[in-house]
């Protein structure tokens, strides 16, 4: 046991002292921070351009409204030089006696020449109150991906057109809004009678808690796993390449060596989790969201992180032992990466229907269990306890088998140089 600890301590210190680890630990908060800052910056500064567009108004009454609304919009975007949004600059185009197609061709050329951003054609029929079919305002542009302008036009004209139609039909607008008042569904938790006899108020379902939290937990697990377990692959291959392994197994058994390494890496993962979870808890506390912290869920996170690290760690060790350089290991990594990414796709199914047969089976499947059972634990109602216990048991059992098999591969693969073994050869090593 003491030898396992010696290996574990050395492995832990070696991993923690590397630059890669420091970078890895800073990477997540750095990326979250950078993307937040970037999004705020982008929202404020990305679109401060002039967007001039031409309006062919067959109704004859809507252009002035559009022009006035554009004026208000531009004022909200701030004064020139300190803009926080785009300016929309409509110009009326009167086709007069010319063919409408000639006008459109000419305007299109102006868009290509960058004098205009786009142009719209408002048919006269939009104000017709006798029709029931949908009407279309045509928006022509070279840049269809930019949707702020058409969205604004649609919102502005929709409101104006509806108002005018009601006026034409002599219907009071206020009456319409009174009669079409929405009755939406609010999602609530359950109620219970409290000790004082009153009924507790049901809590409104928090979309962050119901959807974001489970996903965040799963991704955190994935990141903590991926920044620790694959290091075992590199470490074992490095030991093989620099001919250290033979010295090591003349001192301790391959099983001791493997368990020591797994323990060391599990400690690294636990440290990562501590840093990330600590940061998350601190962030929630300082945002006044203390009721979103669920201690039981944090404990399950640690349990499943350890399960995942020990299980995938032993796979990585086995691959490392079977290969003699990093290049060989790449092709053997692919199926493992697939196993790791698969739960991400299943997560959505599990989130929608946590108690369906497919969700239960998927969350008990050992390589997916740490991710998917964690999602189910983050949801309400939590899965039945026997399923949680079974998933931990299955994961641990798989880990034990993998550690054993990896130990066999390690022992044989250690002295092998040259081409990586095929799968049948690996199975023979395990049985040997």
């Amino acid at each position: 046991m003491s030898r396992i600890l010696v290996v574990a301590t050395t492995e832990f210190l070696t991993l923690v002292r590397t630059k890669a680890f420091i970078i890895g630990i800073l990477m997540l908060p750095l990326m979250i921070g950078l993307s937040t800052v970037f999004q705020i910056f982008a929202a404020k500064h990305a679109d401060v351009d002039d967007h001039a567009f031409a309006v062919i108004d067959h109704t004859g009454v809507l252009f002035p409204v559009l022009q006035q609304a554009a004026g208000e919009h531009n004022r909200k975007s701030g004064p020139d030089g300190a803009r926080t949004g785009p300016y929309f600059l409509p110009t009326a185009v009167d086709p007069g006696a010319r063919a409408i197609d000639d006008v459109k061709v000419e305007l299109s050329q102006q868009v290509r020449d960058k004098h205009l951003f786009g142009f719209i054609e408002i048919p006269a029929s939009v104000l017709d109150v006798t029709r029931t079919d949908a009407d279309h305002i045509e928006y022509y542009t070279e840049t269809p991906s930019y949707d702020a302008l058409p969205d604004w036009i649609e919102a502005t004209l929709q409101k104006e057109i509806t108002g005018r139609r009601f006026a034409t039909a002599s219907i009071d607008r206020r009456l319409v809004s009174q009669l079409t008042r929405p009755a939406s569904v609010t999602v609530l938790g359950l109620v219970a009678r409290r000790a004082d006899g009153k009924v507790s108020e049901a809590k409104e379902a928090n979309p962050i808690q119901t959807f974001v939290m489970p996903f965040a937990m799963m991704y955190l697990l994935f990141i903590a796993l991926m920044s620790s377990a694959p290091q075992l692959l590199t470490a074992v291959i490095e030991e093989k390449m620099s001919r250290i392994s033979e010295v090591l197994i003349s001192s301790i058994t391959p099983t001791q060596l493997m368990l020591g390494k797994l323990l060391g890496v599990a400690a690294v993962a636990a440290l990562l989790a501590l840093v990330y979870l600590g940061g998350g808890v601190y962030a929630l506390l300082s945002a006044g969201q203390a009721d979103m912290i669920q201690p039981a869920l944090l404990a399950w996170f640690v349990v499943y992180l350890l399960c995942a690290v020990l299980m995938f760690g032993s796979v990585f060790i086995a691959i490392g032992a079977a290969c003699s350089d990093l290049k060989d290991s790449q092709s053997m990594m692919q199926p493992i990466m697939l196993l790791l990414v698969l739960p991400m796709f299943f997560a959505i199914i599990v989130l929608r229907q946590p108690n369906s047969t497919i969700s239960v089976v998927a969350s008990l499947w050992p390589t997916a269990s740490p991710f998917l059972m964690l999602i189910r634990l983050a949801m309400t109602p939590p899965p039945p306890m026997w399923q949680v216990a079974l998933s931990v048991l299955l994961t641990m059992g798989t880990m034990a088998v993998l550690v054993w098999a990896a130990g066999r591969i390690f022992r044989v693969g250690l002295l092998m140089q040259g081409k990586p073994p095929t799968l049948p050869e690996l199975l023979r090593w395990i049985r040997a």
């Binding site: 010696v6 070696t14 001919r243 250290i244 033979e246 010295v247 090591l248 003349s250 092998m416």
Partner: protein
């Protein structure tokens, strides 16, 4: 008691029999030299002693216990292919290797200091291994093997690639350890080192034991069939003499292996050229090695199958 006891051990790799029915005793306190051409089974034998490979048949006892049991703490092993953690410091590496043998840091540190000083690399104790020269890292590897004060030391090619000064330093260290009672087994391709250091020599060739005993015993078995001559005509004078089996031309001397009577050879040679030097001698370990391991035409065909 024997430090190592090998009884009828056989190891097969696919179609290749790497070690065949080998029996060998290494007495306690001895320096035992393992010699043999590349691929003859030396490393396989050593790995079986270390329980890194398991024999197909036979039985090995190390320090009185079966090799499968936990004898690792009392055995120091320097493999032929060896390395160190590049990113650790010299001190960290030595502590780690010592701790893996069950020694405590408190126990190890004075020994680390003493050995680094003795081999003149004390200044490098806290430098990373990747900054060391090849010779220095070989010294560190040697120290890592003996830092746990093993009772049995197994060194696979310990002196290869070292300059004469460093090789001498390590040789002296090995002799010191032997004086303290350590049993030492080492394999080497350097016959002069084997002759100088070893009490007993074991030679393995194609998986079979071909020599085992003290140097004198081995040499006397090969008899005094070698003559060193120096003549006016040099090697040319030897041609066609019926007693000459083969000879090695060293320039000023010729070492002649005889198949007939030495006196008859002397007479025949004296009739051809003036003799400046004529000495009956025992064959050197080098000569014996070459006589056994000289490749026959059969050996030069490419072998089927590899070896690990």
């Amino acid at each position: 008691m024997s430090a190592i006891e090998i009884r009828s051990v056989t190891k097969q790799f696919g179609a290749v029999r790497a070690v065949s029915d080998l029996t060998l005793d290494v007495p306690e306190g001895a320096i035992y030299g393992f010699i043999g051409p590349n691929g003859s089974g030396k490393t396989t034998t050593i790995r079986m002693i270390m329980n890194i490979l398991v024999p197909d048949a036979g039985h090995i006892a190390v320090l009185g216990r079966p090799s499968q049991s936990g004898i690792r703490d009392e055995v120091g092993y320097l493999p032929e292919e060896r390395g160190l953690y590049k990113r650790m410091t010299v001190r960290q590496v030595l502590r780690y290797y010592g701790q893996l043998k069950g020694r405590s840091v408190a126990e190890l540190d004075p020994a680390i200091k003493a050995w680094l000083e003795r081999l003149q690399i004390a200044d490098w104790a806290d430098k990373k291994v990747q900054t060391l020269s090849k010779g220095m890292s070989q010294k560190v590897q040697f120290i890592s093997t003996i830092i746990s004060k093993p009772k049995l030391l197994i060194l696979d090619e310990p002196f290869s690639g070292l300059d004469p000064v460093n090789a001498d330093a390590l040789r002296d260290a090995v002799l010191d350890l032997r004086r303290l009672g350590t049993t030492i087994v080492f394999s080497t391709h350097d016959m002069a080192t084997a002759e100088r250091l070893c009490d007993r020599i074991f030679m393995i060739f194609k998986g079979n034991k071909v020599l085992d005993g003290t140097l004198e015993a081995i040499q006397s078995r090969y008899g005094q069939d070698t003559v060193r001559v120096r003549t006016g005509a040099g090697a040319a004078a030897l041609a066609g003499l019926p007693e000459v089996d083969s000879y090695t031309d060293v320039g000023n001397f010729q070492d002649v292996k005889l198949k007939g009577d030495a006196q008859a050879f002397l007479h025949g040679l004296a009739g051809r050229t003036p003799i400046l030097h004529f000495e009956l001698k025992t064959p050197s370990l080098h000569d014996i090695f070459v006589r056994i391991a000289k490749p026959t035409a059969d050996d030069l065909k490419p072998a089927a199958g590899g070896r690990p």
